[in-house]
Symmetry: C2
DNA sequence: ATTACTATTCTACGAGTAT
DNA sequence: TATACTCGTAGAATAGTAA
């Protein structure tokens, strides 16, 4: 989150007053009363929001004209998008949480095969980074949710045969990692991992992109069908 | 707001992990890392959310099973509704802010006339409290916005004639006061107030319901048409 | 009237640690 | 391992004012 709680709520209050559509005139006393803080703190909040570029400010003799900037609207929309998907797309989404661990890279092996790579780009919309992020599921509910994914069609990446051997089908689901990065869950049919493991692919190296280390918890939003993916 | 900033963001994090759909297993260390606070503070946050009824909690040897309650979802939905109306209904809404003052109660006089009362109930969906809340608009933008309301059709309450005199038409707009209470803006056609005054009616006494005193600022969301009113 | 500085109070964070 | 207590302290909030 770019904006800590109290500051975000100050921004929300400006938003409620229509500050995203036009300049609004507010006094720090009124503003403070509206969100339950003192005049002085209200002053500091508005100052800080302006300093950090979330609002523009213009002092007048009887208050200040405040308006939310593009950046401010972005901060609001970020929360909005999270809430919308969670509240309205429930039927199409499964939430999973797991902890990062270092695996044997079997997924990485698959992901680099040319016979798969082109299909990934075409069917998932991105060329996967040549490596997977391994997650270990820890709660019964997560493991159950993973089992339910097995039963769903998902997005199928077709197997193929080359001179050496035959490669089986791979099933994927589009997913959002930590509510921030788009990627996909890889369900390799014959894997030696158990039912408590999930492999994630993404356009980037997720460990670097999200600053993940072994043991860190990661949240996944798995899209069961393509509808409503955002 | 029922929930102060930091606590709300803790709830949001649980939401992001799917805690509104099922119990999720989280450790206080992981949870803290995810929102940038210490293990101890994370523990306190979860404890307080549970104490205040926003989540249920169940301790296990390796973490706690947390799930958002109805009340918690309500707190999230409250913000969601605000954001949705602000971001998606912009064309249908005008935001106005004004300060409460004690007026001469002309609106109250109108609002109690039987010839109007029935129409209010029928066309606005509520029987108005016999009194109005007077707001004084302070910024040029607010006064301009009020003038724009004059030009719109709104909801017309027809005038009538009784043995004493003739009563003119009254125009209304549905509105939300302080993002919390449903009411309506009353545009009495011939009033001795100037262009910087607005009268609000609602099912309840707004001063009591919202704890308003003279001079307090009030925010209004005026719905220009009935579509998308929430 | 305002906003916002300085001084002071006090809340709330995290370190250390018990369970 | 967990969670969550106590406690010292940093930083935030308010009081008092200046501008």
């Amino acid at each position: 989150m770019e904006l800590e709680g109290d500051l975000w709520f100050a921004l929300l209050q400006i938003f409620r007053m229509g500050g995203h559509t036009r300049q609004i005139l507010i006094g720090t006393s009124d503003f403070g009363r509206m969100i339950g803080i003192s005049q002085q703190t209200a002053s500091r909040r508005l100052l800080e929001l302006a300093e950090r570029g979330f609002v523009t400010r213009e002092l007048t003799p009887d208050g200040q004209l405040v308006m939310i900037t593009e950046k401010g609207i972005g901060a609001i929309r970020e929360v909005y998008d999270t809430l919308r998907m969670g509240l309205e797309g429930v039927d199409n989404v499964k939430f999973l949480n797991g902890n990062v661990f270092s695996g044997f890279g079997e997924g990485a092996y698959y992901v680099t095969k040319n016979g798969y790579r082109e299909q990934f780009s075409e069917k998932l919309g991105f060329a996967p980074f040549p490596g997977t992020l391994n997650l270990r599921l820890r709660s019964a509910a997560d493991i159950r949710a993973r089992a339910e994914l097995e039963a769903l069609p998902g997005i199928t990446i077709k197997g193929f045969t080359n001179s050496e051997r035959t490669y089986g089908d791979v099933k994927c689901f589009l997913a959002k990692v930590n509510d921030a990065v788009d990627g996909a869950v890889l369900m390799i049919h014959r894997t030696h991992y158990g039912k408590e493991v999930l492999e994630i692919i993404a356009p980037d190296n997720l460990r670097k992109r999200l600053g993940l280390r072994d043991g860190d918890m990661v949240q996944l939003k798995v899209y069961l069908s393509r509808d409503h993916v955002q």
